[in-house]
């Protein structure tokens, strides 16, 4: 209850930023899924499609600007992924990890575009003006728990597929619950019991990974939205022009912080997924020796 109340902007200091995405059609029906975050996700999809086509059409050995920029990003990501999961797994996992990074980064930064979260519907105070935006038209997908869950569960499924493909079901069970160290006798039995218990904890942590990944990303981006809205509205009651000056000046430094947070969250999400894949697809030393 305490946790949930933390997300409810009841404090007069905090801006009233909704913790959930708003449906564009309040009547619901077939289009109930179409929220402001889904709309932005579709825009992000279009941006990614347009830029990837622009970057990879007429590719040459001496790259043009868009190609060069995209090559830089992809080569940087690929090298990081190879460094973590190894060459073999990188070939399989990179499309997912690269997509996660680019999609999350573009989504996070999309939320910083002026108008996202501030243009929408509310109580009208004049022509094309509302006192407070209750239902923004646009919302970054990463500030919607549905989207972050979609990302983390997709990553979880791919992780599970890669793990089973690499180790097999039995190998995965041995990898998770099997005793390490090669001890025998009574000590071996005790160690096996301990590792069985550790395996149970490991399974719980695996199941919770999608939740932790999604809530971490959602929390950071939603918090950033709240901070920017709160700072932008600090002088709303002071009247024009102070409200305008305050809405520009106060959030301005925090935009740079949010740029950094957006990048960091994209990196954290991608690197954690890479580490999860690396941890579960690495063969144990003694099983490697037995295999050889």
């Amino acid at each position: 209850m305490e946790l949930l109340s933390a997300f409810t902007p009841t404090s007069p200091l905090l801006a009233n930023v909704s913790s959930k995405a708003t449906e564009l059609f309040h009547e619901g029906g077939v289009l109930a899924f179409l929220t402001n975050s889904v709309l932005v996700a579709l825009v992000v999809l279009g941006v990614v499609f347009w830029f990837s086509r622009k970057a990879t059409s007429n590719m040459t050995l001496i790259p043009h600007k868009a190609q060069n920029f995209f090559e830089f990003i992809i080569e940087f990501l690929y090298d990081r992924v190879v460094g973590i999961v190894g060459e073999k797994q990188a070939k399989l996992a990179f499309p997912l990890l690269g997509t996660l990074f680019i999609y999350i980064l573009v989504s996070n930064w999309f939320g910083l575009i002026p108008g996202v979260g501030t243009i929408g519907f509310g109580d009208p105070v004049g022509p094309f003006m509302v006192g407070e935006v209750h239902d923004p038209l646009l919302r970054p997908p990463t500030a919607d728990l549905n989207a972050t869950l979609a990302l983390s569960i997709s990553a979880f499924l791919v992780w599970f597929y890669l793990t089973i493909k690499e180790l097999g079901v039995w190998g995965f069970l041995v990898h998770t619950f099997g005793a390490k160290g090669g001890l025998k006798g009574i000590m071996g039995f005790v160690v096996a019991i301990v590792f069985l218990f550790v395996g149970v904890i490991e399974v719980v942590s695996m199941i919770l990974r999608p939740m932790t990944l999604s809530v971490r990303l959602y929390g950071n981006i939603f918090a950033g939205e709240s901070v920017l809205h709160t700072l932008g509205g600090l002088l709303d009651k002071a009247g024009y022009p102070w409200s305008f000056i305050g809405s520009v000046l106060f959030p301005f430094p925090f935009y740079f912080m949010e740029l950094l947070v957006g990048l960091l969250q994209a990196i954290v999400f991608t690197l954690l997924c890479s580490v999860y894949i690396q941890l579960s697809t690495t063969h144990d030393e003694h099983s490697e020796e037995e295999h050889h």
């Binding site: 996700a41 990837s52 990879t56 690929y78 499309p95 809530v215």
Partner: protein, 185 residues
């Protein structure tokens, strides 16, 4: 974070107390919205895999291969250059040796030829001198014979005038011989 900590054990009471519904409502969780986000993410994945990762990774690999080939060719060219320099040096050394030998041979040959020509010239000159000397001697003798004959004729003529006698052929011949014998030039 306590909510999601399996160690603290707070998640189970929350789930048991039916807080899931409240949480779902609070964060707007719903399956259609979740599915829409999954489908959009899959679409982004498909687009990036088809239009970005595939072509760009292939291009990076192609460029890497090209650089590797270039490096290999560079090494080969450098090796060929060393070989070529070595070969050129060998050829130059050989040519130098040949040239030195040829110059020496040409010098020797020229010297020999000069000596030969010199000998021939000396021989020719000696020959010419001998012939000239012989011709001169012959001419001298002819002149002397002619002079003696002229002198004998003059003596004969003078004798004939002094004596008033017509000398016959024998007399003339005898006077000529005596005169020639007495005139020694």
């Amino acid at each position: 974070m306590e909510l999601f900590s399996p160690i603290s054990g707070t998640i189970m009471p929350m789930l048991a107390a039916g807080k899931v519904d409240e949480m779902t409502r609070k964060f707007g969780l719903s399956f259609p919205k979740f599915l829409a986000q999954v489908l959009i993410f899959i679409a982004v994945y498909a687009i990036l895999k088809k239009f970005a990762f595939g072509p760009i990774l292939a291009m990076l690999e192609q460029r890497r291969q090209r650089i590797a080939d270039g490096e290999a060719k560079l090494d080969k060219i450098a090796k060929n250059l060393v070989d070529a320099e070595l070969s050129a040096k060998t050829v130059l050394d050989k040519a130098n040796d040949d040239a030195t030998r040829l110059i020496k041979e040409a010098g020797d040959s020229a010297k020999s030829l000069t000596e030969k020509r010199q000998q021939e010239a000396i021989h020719e000159a000696s020959h010419i001198l001998a012939k000239a000397r012989e011709a001169s001697t012959l001419e001298h003798e002819q002149l002397m014979a002619q002079l003696k004959r002229e002198f004998g004729r003059m003596v004969t003529d003078a004798t004939s005038r002094v004596t008033g006698k017509v000398l016959n052929t024998d007399d003339q011949s005898r006077i000529n011989q005596e005169t020639s014998a007495q005139v020694s030039l």
